[in-house]
Subunit: 366 residues, 4 copies
């Protein structure tokens, strides 16, 4: 009897949160436990965290309508224990390993994958978007997508590593060491970008958001100063804080046109901007003032570098240069996913983590 | 008697093209020959070429109204012979040297000047914009702005080097060697960017413009293929020419929103764009599709790197890797400046060069 | 019947050049045609070229004694036709494709492979060194190591691409565009580095070697000037050729202490050196003068970047920026390998290519 | 009466430590107070610190015999108050400003100075080596060499900034952010490199030296682990500390052949080394193993980048990311210079700072 047979019992089914058909909403269903292919591993999910993308899919917004083909199990941030390996998995994670998962399943053969740019793979399929996701008791992923964690890493931290990777990728696309940094947008990824920038040696980190709740989180995770554009002039505050010079590096995590503009206004001539936030369409943007006259360099950021970003995260976490635990503000049983999603929609939270088995929770459940 | 006294005669006045007061138009005036300060050189102008900026000043467009304070001698591209050196000029150009001139007079003391980023100097004063320019028989500039040319360099080439520098700066801000390059906008700077890209080892160079005259120039200066968006789909042509992959590098020289969009549409994921063209205000721009999802890197380009770009130009020209002579399509006596400007306005020309002394012309006058 | 069965006939054996046991020499043997594993392809060898490494193995020098475990089929440069694919090869080369082969078989799982640095893989196994090589009628390699060539690429060029990759990797590790380059050592890789530097936009290429035969080849492949240190002072010639400034980039392809010293003597302050040549042990080297006082940057180069270098090669060859055909000076039937190796030992040749089936030769046999 | 006349009195002479003639030793002399040229400032020296170079000059070793032409005032690290400005100094330091001094006086006109590489200026003249130095009551330097400090910066810290700049330049030549770093050699510059690496976001810093006194200082300034090669195997310790992987970055500050070898042995494949230490001549060095096979990148480091390094230092000190005060172990009156130099020769000290006026000392004198 394999570990898998032992752990999932004889029925061969599991609970999972699915988008059953086009339209708003999600539901909890009983579905078959998936069978790993020759190069896959089967993972028993220990924790799974909610990302903004999942909210779009729940709400069935235009992006979701274009990209998602129901029925589909949703979710892409997780950690879990490997319970079975495909026949062709010769090395990589062992049965029993705690793993986090890179949610981008890439082809490994295209010109991008072959040149260290897997995050640009033209055949990318994302868990919970293009193939079944991880809001479930089990999931199969290619063995190479399973990143082995230290066995004592808290499940909630292990789960949100995928999302932390977006932040680390953004923070490390410029040389941030010794630089003054502005982070626009303090949702969870923005806040993690603050922590990453701090851990990577930024000289000062400033942050903006329209939510005071989030600005409080930003300060907890390492921002030196935070500014709320609804209450004060971000540009004035920023110039004061930098002797009138502006910041060396902008990390744009919001996608909000006004925040983008404030960020570029504060960017020093010769500075660098990294853009992760999405605006969901064209905006009014002044290339002359924001980029050309400034001699600025702007980097688009997507996903995580495979696998440089994961090594970088491992280093930051191991060394204690980043502590993400204050960011995990709420824990739910997976069965209570509706409550978890409603909380996310309110914006009054950090990362929200769900546990298929409530006994696995690494903190009190909400 | 100094060389200067000898060359300008006893009257101490010279002809110059001036913007006498706010409003459209330019006029030829008699003005005093300027006196060089201790760190300056006095240059007898041999040739001076017309740039788009000069057209804006002549036409007194909104940009000119904001930046120019008449009365002012116009023009900033030139070559000439050093005829006098200020008392504190210990090295640098000698009397008798043929020099081209960097038109950005920078402070040498600000944080940008002190860190090899003089092109971003916050105290930049530009010849013919913020201080008297070069459409004249003589001009004084700081000795350090005078770049010594080989004595046998044709005057028209020596004059347009300043403008060529914009092109070389744009083409060299990314590693272009072995890359496929798209140049959007084939005015003189765009065409020189084609020549620079070719000389710097680009694998293939494609170019777009709405003018067939300019596309013809583009091919003459080294473009492999040219496309006119008024007549064909630039995106389709571009994908065909690159096996559907797009280009590695975009050099945006037009500032036209449609060209910018075509350029980014053809930019390969992970590619690099250098923006020199100005759009004169905000445009509709999709940061998501053009930069973020592509993982693209975008560089704003202003002026010339002081002095890396000048050394790079010298190398390209000396080695014969670039031949700019076909770009000089028309020569005029400075006295005929009205004709020269009208031709420029028609767009049916390459670089137009004017000669204060018609005997200095290095080709037949129009 | 598979293509493979058809092409190798019923006996299942093939001719191959083997090192049968420790000690000098090689011999032609009959050995079984190898069977591809699930992720492999079986290639019918069309052409195979000789590298210096193969000479070391034939001569059984100290390096070979340490690294090679006979019995072993020798050789690692080849091209051929895919005649069979393993069961797990889903994409990649098709049966009938002409392919060249990356000779470094890497693990794909170590920290280097996972971060775009496969050339540093700590589990690398090289064809003809650590596992059976390609001086044979057939060879199996992992499908991912087979690089599809245009079907009309001459076999000799397709075969030497692996070796050309060393040259391209070396030439592209610095930005060579518009730079003055010195290549020390004009064996085949050195000569190909000259061609690559030229194709990548170098401003000028100088080359040194002690063999006039090789210097002649260097000039044919694109060197502007060549110097023989046995006959003239390389440093004097180099300073003359560069206005006393030295070169921007050194490509050291010889490993000879005197050439290394000459190269660094000519390197400009702030310049870059790429080292591919091997000295086979410690040498007397002045780090102060050669690196520290110069503020130089030195890059060690090993193998080819997987797969950036292959894409770069494809671009150079397709665009006609590099023509390697003059480098192929001799062709032999594989059965005449003793003659081919003796010629290589004489040094009076460029690349020497052998053909298992003489009918495949793309030029007259020697 | 100018500030200068007021401060130096009517006699016009000052005390200074001079090398009077070729041969060992230094002596205190009365010499004329220097007169600033038009572009100079006159500085009243408040503190001056001892560098290894000064020891070489005192001892008149072969390097000193080659580079120094007595009679000469020695010393190049200092801070002081500007008491007079030359007639042509229009901006820059004001009379009364506390300044540190860049000891490399560069030409501002050569190809290096003109391209942001002033540290490689081919006409560099160093204070206390090629022109009169700073072990004196007053010194004149070009105004551009005087770096304005916050008025409340302790004199000893302000004085050693020049030397700290060597450390910061070395630590910042590679991207050190999030990396594991080994510093070989824990003299004052080495120890400051540890502090800089830490302040710039290094993940872990290891250090080696043969002196336990210095290793103690290394730990105080931020080293995680220190190893004494006289007592333990540096390579074994280093592999243990890095999971057998080695370090990402080597900062070589010793010039000692054994330390250089240990450092390269511990450098990870694909790693970067920055070399500041001088070996005083050729050493046995294995380019194959240390650089080529590793695919390593090696940077020679000289002086400070003008002026990037000074801005970087300012940032590190202002933000409190580096605290150099524990490094200042001894203070002396300038009159006691013999004692100060003897202490330096013993090696049982950090930075030793001397004060022309003992009342200026920012801590107890020895």
């Amino acid at each position: 009897m394999t570990a898998r047979a032992a752990s999932r019992g004889s029925l061969g089914s599991m609970r999972a949160i699915v988008k059953p058909s086009p339209g708003p909403g999600l539901e909890m269903d009983d579905v078959p436990i998936p069978t790993p292919g020759p190069s896959d591993v089967l993972i028993q999910v220990k924790a799974t965290s909610i990302c903004g993308t999942d909210m779009h899919i729940r709400d069935w917004d235009p992006w979701a309508q274009t990209h998602v083909r129901p029925p589909l199990i949703v979710g892409h941030e997780l950690c879990g224990i490997v319970v079975e390996r495909g026949s062709a998995v010769a090395d990589g994670p062992e049965v029993g390993d705690l793993v986090s998962v890179e949610s981008h399943v890439v082809c490994g053969r295209c010109r991008f994958c072959r040149t260290g740019k897997g995050h640009l793979c033209e055949n990318t399929r994302i868990l919970g978007v293009h193939r079944d996701g991880v809001y479930a008791e089990y999931v199969t992923v290619p063995a190479i997508n399973a990143w082995v964690d230290p066995p004592d890493m808290p499940y909630s931290i292990a789960s949100l590593q995928e999302n932390f990777g977006n932040a680390v990728h953004t923070a490390s696309v410029s040389n941030i060491s010794g630089r003054k940094v502005l982070v626009t947008g303090c949702g969870p990824v923005g806040v993690m970008a603050i922590a990453a920038a701090r851990g990577l040696g930024a000289r000062a980190v400033f942050a903006t958001d329209v939510s005071d709740y989030r600005l409080e989180m930003a300060r907890t995770l390492g921002a030196d100063q935070t500014w709320n554009p609804l209450k004060e002039s971000v540009v004035e505050r920023g110039l004061e804080a930098t002797d009138g010079e502006g910041v060396d590096v902008l990390l744009e995590m919001s996608g909000a046109p006004s925040a983008i503009q404030e960020g570029f206004s504060l960017l020093k001539p010769g500075g660098e901007a990294a853009l992760l936030g999405l605006s969901s369409g064209p905006i009014q943007f002044d290339l002359d003032d924001n980029i050309v006259f400034k001699g600025a360099t702007v980097h688009g950021v997507i996903g995580r570098k495979m696998w440089d970003t994961w090594y970088e995260m491992r280093g930051l976490l191991r060394a204690g240069a980043v502590d993400l635990s204050p960011l995990v503000t709420h824990r739910f049983a997976l069965d209570d996913f509706e409550k978890a999603f409603d909380l996310m929609a309110s914006g009054e939270c950090g990362k929200v983590v769900m546990f298929p088995n409530p006994d696995d929770a690494d903190g009190p459940l909400s």
